[in-house]
Structure formats: C-alpha cells, structure tokens
C-alpha cells in the first residue's frame, strides 16, 4: 500500500508503499511526530509529547462488507470485549470525499479516563481505520488537531 503523510509545514510525501495498491495521505497534526512503523501493523502513526496518538491502517477489503457491517463489527469488539463505553457516533467525510463513521469511546484504565476514537472508511478495495486515543485531559486539549488530521485524510 502507499501512503503519504503531509506535514503542516513541508507537505511532502513520505514513503510510498507498494504491494496492495492502497494509498492515502494525511496531514500530521501540529505538534505530533511520526513514528517509524516499518515493523508494526500500522501504516502510519503519530504521537504528541504528552501521549496522544493517531494511527492509520489500510486493510485489504476481503471479504466484502459495507460500512455498517464494519462499524458494527468494530463497535461490538470494542464495547463488549474491551469494556469501552461508546460515548458518541459521528458521521465523517474524508478529504477525498468518502463517507465514514467515527466511533468515540471512553475507558478508564487504572482509574484514569481515556478517550479512544475509531474512524472507519470503506472503499471497494480497502478498509481504512484511523485510531486516535490518549488520556482524556490531553486528548481534549488536542481534539481540534486530531479532528483536522482525520478530516485531511485523502484516500486514493
């Protein structure tokens, strides 16, 4: 797959991955750094200094399912097995025009509240998952930048 990360200042294309034919570009949130994901399951991941993390991954869309199917599958997995509370559900749109769904969860870990967002876009060839999470206090402070980054996602 190919992906491009557009930094707010340089707007340069980073590594393009060949193989599964997917490509996307996303603006890195201001104040975040991109991590090396060569050996991970993420296609791109960014973190702030205080622990708010955003990741993107593209998954081959096989077997085929519509957006509702994948939203339900993810929601069930997160809520029922993970114990997360579903706080909100938002309709979102990628910069490239695809409609998606954003599930906004919350969960306490060791008494500390965390927020965790999962945004899903489904195309014929790929499922694009954008995850964002962090401690509630830090996440709320970075929420605008997180939303902007997700809205900047361009799927090709």
């Amino acid at each position: 797959m190919k992906h491009a990360v557009i930094t707010p200042t340089l707007l340069v294309l980073t590594a393009l991955w060949a193989g599964c034919g997917s490509s996307f570009a996303m603006s890195a949130p201001e104040g975040f750094v991109e991590l090396d994901e060569e050996y991970s399951n993420y296609d791109a991941r960014f973190t702030s200094a205080d622990g708010v993390v955003i990741s993107v991954r593209s998954i081959e869309h096989d077997p085929k399912g519509d957006l509702d199917f994948w939203v339900e599958a993810i929601q069930s997995r997160i809520r029922m097995n993970g114990g997360y509370a579903l706080l909100e559900t938002e309709d979102v749109r990628a910069a490239s025009g695809q409609s998606g769904k954003q599930l906004r969860f919350g969960r306490d870990q060791n008494g500390t509240p965390f927020k965790y967002w999962v945004t899903i876009f489904v195309t014929d060839a790929h499922i694009h998952i954008v995850e964002a999470g962090g401690r509630t206090e830090q996440f709320d402070a970075a929420q605008g930048r997180v939303e902007n980054a997700i809205a900047s996602l361009s799927i090709h």
Binding site: L35, N41, R45, T47, G51, V53, S55, R57, I59, A73, I74, S76, R77, I78, R79, M80, N81, G82, G83, Y84, A85, L86, L87, F105, G106, R107, D108, Q109, G111, P113, F114, Y116, V118, I129, E131, A132, G133, G134, T136
Partner: protein, 312 residues
C-alpha cells in the same frame, strides 16, 4: 387416652409437615371429628376396623415445603399404640417424642407434594411485616454492565439521580455500585440507569415468592399456636420426664419460629426494596465475544488503546 396425650398428639400433628400421621388402634374419644383449635386445623378421620378397634389418623392440615424448612420442621410422626392404657406411664409422652424424632427427617415429602397437601384453614393476614399479601409478591432485581469510563463521576451522577427516588446505597466500589430502591420506583430507577452510560448488558428479573411467603406466614402462625399449647401442657405436666420432653419440644419450636421470622423478614425486605447492581467492568477479556463467536479478522483484535499507545 389421657387428655394430655391427645393434646400432644394433635400438637405434633399440626407441627409435622407433609402429611404427618398418627395412627392409633384404639378408639379415640371423642371419635371421628374435625378438630379446629386456634388457627390451626387438624383434620381427623375415623374408620372403625373389623375388630371393633379403629384407626385414627390425625394429619397436619397446613404444610408445604415452599423452599424453606429443615429437618427439624419437616417431620412425620407415626405412632402406633396398642391402645390407651388406663394408667399410662409417666414417661409416655417422652417416649413418644423420642420415638418420633428419628423419623422426622426421613419421611419428608418433596416440596411439590407438600404444596399439594397444603390445606390452609385460613389465609394469612392482609399484610405481614409491611408486605401487602393481596397481590403478587415479587422480588425485582436488575443488573447492568456499563462501559468503563469515568466510573467515579458516573457513579456520582447515578446516585444523584437515584437520590430523588429514595434509594439506599448498599455497596460501592471501583467496579460496582449496588443500590436498593423502593419496589414501586424500580422501573423509574432502571430507566435512569439506562441513561447514565453505555449499557453493555442488562438483566432484569422478577422472582415470584408469593407461595413461599404465604406458606411461611401460615407455618409461623401454626408454630406459634403450637407453642402456646405446649406451654399450657407444660403447666399441667406432673412428671419431670414429661416436663423435660415438652421443654425440648418448646425449644425446638422456638428455634423454628425464629427461623421462619428471619426468613419472613428477609423476603419482606427483598419485596419492598428492589436491588439494582451496576457493574463497571469489561464483560470479557477473552478473544471470544460474549455471543460465542469471533469474527475471522485478526486486525479487529489489534484495535484498542493498549496497542495504539504502545510506542516501543
């Protein structure tokens, strides 16, 4: 037969559960008739035998298992005497009691059968221990699993909302909140909890304890009447052995009465106040979902904060 023995036999008959029977081969005096003493009914059937003698059977009128009862209570006294000697020995009553005791535990009919045999003479009072007996007696319970987010704040919010419904906080921990709410406001409380967070699982139960409750009320009343009779009998006992035997029965009866009262208080409390348990805990940490299936997409299992935020 000496009057004391008759009285004791009747008392034991009413105490026994599940068709306690007393068979006397000698003709009773008075003969077949129905006895109604106090609030307890003991029915008597008289059937003359060929030899001019009669089998006389006294059966406990009110009895049912109903899920509560013990060996001491569920008894079956079965006496077969050779007739009533004119001058019964002073220890006759003691002998009867001692002979009867080992049989008590072994002849207990199953609860269902006991229930069928129950023939209460009179219905319990309209209200017992603050519980209205005129309608169904239900114990309501509800259990919720909520998503684990801002648990302390959510618990505070729930308690604040439920405070308007006169709830009682029964237990609170990091992962659980248990409240007791007046039964009349149970549904309101359930609705409020539903809106307090992300409900992952809910379970609402209504347990009908009417049969058990009414059964206990009847048996309690019978036991109290029997105790009064035994106390009167004790006053008339001449022999020390008789007095000791009766006192043992009184002690046993008192224990039974206290157990009935305890159970009655517990049921009354459960009926009047419903219990709502709110759990803040993941239903499962296993890869298999609570519905017993796992979708064949490994990447679903990789979602979550633990992977996302593991930056090394």
């Amino acid at each position: 037969m000496k009057p004391e023995k008759w009285l004791l036999a009747l008392a034991l008959g009413a105490l026994g559960c599940g068709g306690s029977s007393y068979a006397y081969e000698s003709p009773p005096s008075p003969p077949a008739e129905q006895y109604a003493r106090g609030t307890t009914t003991a029915s008597a059937e008289y059937a003359p035998s060929a030899g001019g003698e009669a089998d006389y059977e006294v059966m406990a009128a009110e009895d049912s298992g109903g899920g509560f009862g013990g060996d001491d209570w569920d008894s079956d006294y079965n006496f077969e005497s050779e007739g009533e000697p004119a001058g019964a020995s002073a220890g006759a009553m003691s002998d009867m009691l001692e002979e009867a005791r080992p049989q008590m535990a072994n002849n207990m009919p199953p609860p269902q059968q006991q229930a069928q045999q129950a023939q209460p003479e009179a219905e319990p009072a309209e209200s017992t221990d603050g519980v209205d007996l005129s309608g169904p007696l239900l114990i309501y319970t509800a259990r919720f699993h909520l998503g684990v987010y801002e648990v302390t704040q959510t618990q505070d919010a729930i308690l604040e909302q439920l405070g308007e419904l006169d709830v009682i906080l029964a237990r609170r921990s990091d992962t659980e909140l248990v409240v007791r709410v007046p039964a009349a406001r149970f549904q309101q409380a359930v609705d409020q909890v539903e809106g307090a967070g992300d409900v992952l699982h809910r379970e609402v139960n209504a347990q009908d304890v009417g049969e058990e409750f009414r059964d206990i009320a009847i048996r309690l009343r019978n036991a109290e009447v029997m105790r009064e009779r035994l106390e009167r009998l004790l006053q008339r006992a001449d022999a020390v052995e008789d007095a000791l035997a009766i006192e043992r029965e009184l002690q046993r009866l008192t224990d039974i009465i206290e157990r009935f009262k305890g159970r009655q208080r517990y049921l009354s409390d459960q009926i009047r106040f419903s219990t709502i348990t709110i759990v803040f805990q993941a239903l499962s940490t296993e890869p298999t979902g609570p519905d017993g299936f796992t979708l064949p997409f490994d990447w679903l299992g990789e979602l979550g904060l633990s992977n996302l935020m593991r930056l090394r």
